[in-house]
């Protein structure tokens, strides 16, 4: 049995989390609240440290470019003052615009054009045929118009649904191993490092 207070803490908490599997209980609820408290405080500490180094510091040193996010950041808190609460939309609107543009940049090339281009392959092997047919029919599944998905497209879409199910099944089976491997270190901690039962 271990004498390390760190291992004791970690092992006991691990057991409390496992107890949730048996039944929701007061210990788990306590741990849940403790956990959210620590995580939220950690996020704030990290955010504050980052802001101090990258924004507040330079802004106070006279870097004008950093006074803009500083003002914007303060505007976010305007929502707590009923009279000027609408001002908090301004920084959010700015972030939404930037984020949306970043999404378009990432989706246009790698997720759309390159995926389409990657499917243009010679139909010389059964694998290639399945790849092309599978991709095309899956795309057909996502046709939403009444007109665009009729006749042949509807049959294609049904095949596409089956292809997707095969993809989901395979991906599920493939992940099982990784998910199982997550449990191994936890069991080693409780039964090995803490209780000293494992070889």
């Amino acid at each position: 049995m271990s004498r390390d207070p760190g291992i004791w803490t970690a092992a006991l908490l691990t057991i409390v989390v496992w107890s949730y599997l048996f039944k929701q209980n007061i210990l788990f609820q306590a741990v849940e609240h403790l956990f959210v408290g620590i995580a939220a405080a950690h996020a704030m500490t990290v955010a504050f440290t980052n802001l101090r180094d990258t924004c507040l510091g330079p802004a106070l040193m006279g870097d004008w470019a950093m006074t803009v996010p500083l003002l914007g950041g303060l505007l976010l808190y305007a929502r707590f003052l009923p009279k000027i609460s609408h001002l908090s939309r301004i920084p959010l609107a700015f972030v939404m615009g930037t984020a949306a543009a970043v999404v378009i940049r990432g989706s246009l090339g790698p997720s759309f054009i390159q995926q389409v281009a990657g499917t243009i392959i010679p139909l010389t092997s059964p694998d290639n045929v399945i790849l092309v047919v599978g991709t095309v029919t899956t795309i057909a599944y996502f046709l939403f118009g009444r007109k665009s998905r009729s006749g042949m497209m509807d049959h294609a879409a049904r095949l596409g649904r089956y292809i997707m199910m095969a993809a989901f099944g395979a991906a599920y089976g493939n992940t099982v191993m990784m998910r199982m491997s997550l449990l191994i270190p936890r069991i080693r901690l409780v039964f090995g490092d803490w209780l000293g039962l494992l070889p």
């Binding site: 929701q24 956990f35 959210v36 246009l108 010679p122 139909l123 010389t124 290639n128 939403f144």
Partner: protein, 244 residues
């Protein structure tokens, strides 16, 4: 060349979107087929109202990405319906930036339904940006507040299965939607209904029947037909030895 193709795709989609929007505004006939996954949202809301128990909604730990934008449209719909039926709506957030946005959406929806007094800011909750802490917080809500329906729309990471199995344990009816391909298999296995990939993006158009969204959805359809045509022609051409 790459950039040029990208610009062409972007502008042709915009252009097609405008044309389809105009034609829909003129004719007014709904061009979208029925989407059972989205109809199940009404089922979820109805069930919760009947049982007199709350609905839980979350956008996952994904930040401000496209899936989350699409989820906002679903949230707007759900918030309006719950305001209308007097059912409690609880929202869990993992991203601090998403938190004020969801709050605004729900507030605006309650005002639009003429029920500003029913809006409770305390029902929109932030559980820190740590995935596991957020998951444990959501479990707590689902069990303690006896949630009748759990709606998960947005971009999810490994919390997908943790959240949905937690929902199963508390007996909630679950509808999920995401375009995150690694997480889709888990939602499909664990939830009652799943919006797969682009179906989530169709939600806004389908639920609100907003002409702009419908027009854009039809433009997406046109782009998909074009993609199918390009793939098939290209593949056939390269089979017979033509290269581009």
């Amino acid at each position: 060349m790459q950039q040029l193709t990208q610009i062409c795709v972007l502008f042709s989609m915009l252009f097609a979107g405008i044309i389809y929007t105009r034609s829909y505004s003129r004719t007014g006939t709904m061009p979208i087929r029925r989407l059972p996954g989205l109809d199940s949202l009404d089922e979820a809301i109805g069930r919760a109202t009947e049982m007199g128990r709350p609905i839980h909604f979350t956008t996952g730990t994904g930040g401000l990405v496209a899936d989350t934008f699409a989820a906002f449209a679903v949230l707007e719909y759900v918030a309006k319906k719950t305001a209308q039926y007097g059912c409690t709506l609880i929202i869990s957030n993992a991203q601090p930036l998403i938190h004020p946005i969801t709050e605004n959406i729900v507030r605006a929806s309650y005002y639009a339904q003429g029920k500003p007094q029913s809006f409770k800011p305390g029902n929109i909750r932030y559980h820190s940006d740590s995935m596991q802490a957020y998951v444990s917080g959501v479990w707590g809500i689902m069990e303690r507040e006896k949630v009748a329906a759990n709606i998960m729309m947005g971009y999810f990471f490994a919390e997908s299965l943790l959240l949905s199995e937690g929902g199963v344990r508390s007996g909630a009816f679950q509808v999920a939607g995401t375009a995150s391909t690694p997480q889709l298999p888990f939602f499909v296995a664990a939830c009652d209904r799943t919006l797969i990939g682009e179906e989530l993006f169709a939600a806004g158009a389908y639920l609100t029947e907003d002409p702009v969204r419908i027009g854009a959805l039809m433009a997406q359809d046109a782009a998909k037909i074009a993609a199918i045509a390009i793939i098939l022609t290209g593949a056939l051409a390269s089979t017979v030895g033509l290269t581009m």
